[in-house]
């Protein structure tokens, strides 16, 4: 089982490391990366300042495994990685990192989009949006 969940925000150094690790794979010609960043959304007269993520980890890991398998079946990929934050991620910080690599570029965009949508729809992750008056609301994916 590949490790997906990371405590806190996903740092740019972590992303750089992941990219660097692929430089020894000489069959790869194209990478596509999706990053989700926490937005300072307006909620009435308040603003979102952070999201606190929790997950039903056992089920999430099973679902993520199925999603990975289905992506390898649908698209011609060399490798793929999915990382998601747990705990607090502040506005401007990164909470999801999807990384797809392939011999050629043709399918990488669609594969990334597929993975991000699958994670949003099918993986039991929950987000508590913290507002600047310290109140909160529960995030729902659109």
């Amino acid at each position: 089982m590949k490790k997906v969940f990371i405590e806190g925000a996903i740092s740019s150094e972590f992303i750089a490391d992941s990219i660097a690790k692929h430089q020894s794979k000489h069959s790869i010609g194209a990478h596509n990366i999706f990053l989700g960043q926490v937005r300072a959304d307006q909620v009435e007269d308040q603003k979102v300042v952070a999201i606190e993520y929790t997950a039903y980890e056992e089920m999430a890991n099973e679902k993520l495994h199925e999603i990975r398998e289905s992506a390898f079946e649908k698209f011609d990929l060399t490798c793929l990685h999915i990382y998601h934050s747990l705990g607090t991620v502040k506005v401007g910080e990164i909470c999801i990192f999807v990384f797809v690599s392939s011999k050629r570029r043709k399918q990488v965009y669609e594969a990334t989009e597929y993975l991000v949508n699958q994670v949003k729809e099918h993986v039991p992750i929950f987000g508590k949006e913290i507002l600047d008056n310290a109140e909160h609301q529960w995030k729902v994916n659109s």
């Binding site: 997950a55 089920m59 998601h84 039991p124 929950f126 987000g127 729902v140």
Partner: protein
């Protein structure tokens, strides 16, 4: 004994992430009625997972203490 796991705003309503109920078996419908009477969970949108698979709330299902039960509000990953 049947253990139920709560997440998101349902955990908030139940003031707990997990709870053990003093039943040996219970139908899914009975469980949901019981939890609605305790926490008014009927007002929230949620799905039920049994053993990490989503099941219909209408499904006729007998739960026992070996089952892993979870109430899941709308997903918000990404």
């Amino acid at each position: 004994m049947i253990t139920v796991n709560y997440f998101g705003n349902i955990a908030e309503a139940a003031q707990s992430d997990s709870e053990t109920l003093e039943y040996n078996t219970l139908s899914l419908a009975e469980l949901l009625d019981l939890l609605d009477s305790k926490y008014a969970i009927g007002k929230f949108p949620f799905q039920v997972a049994v053993n990490r698979k989503i099941v219909s709330k209408q499904q006729i299902l007998s739960l026992s203490d070996s089952d892993e039960i979870a109430l899941l509000p709308p997903f918000a990953g990404g």
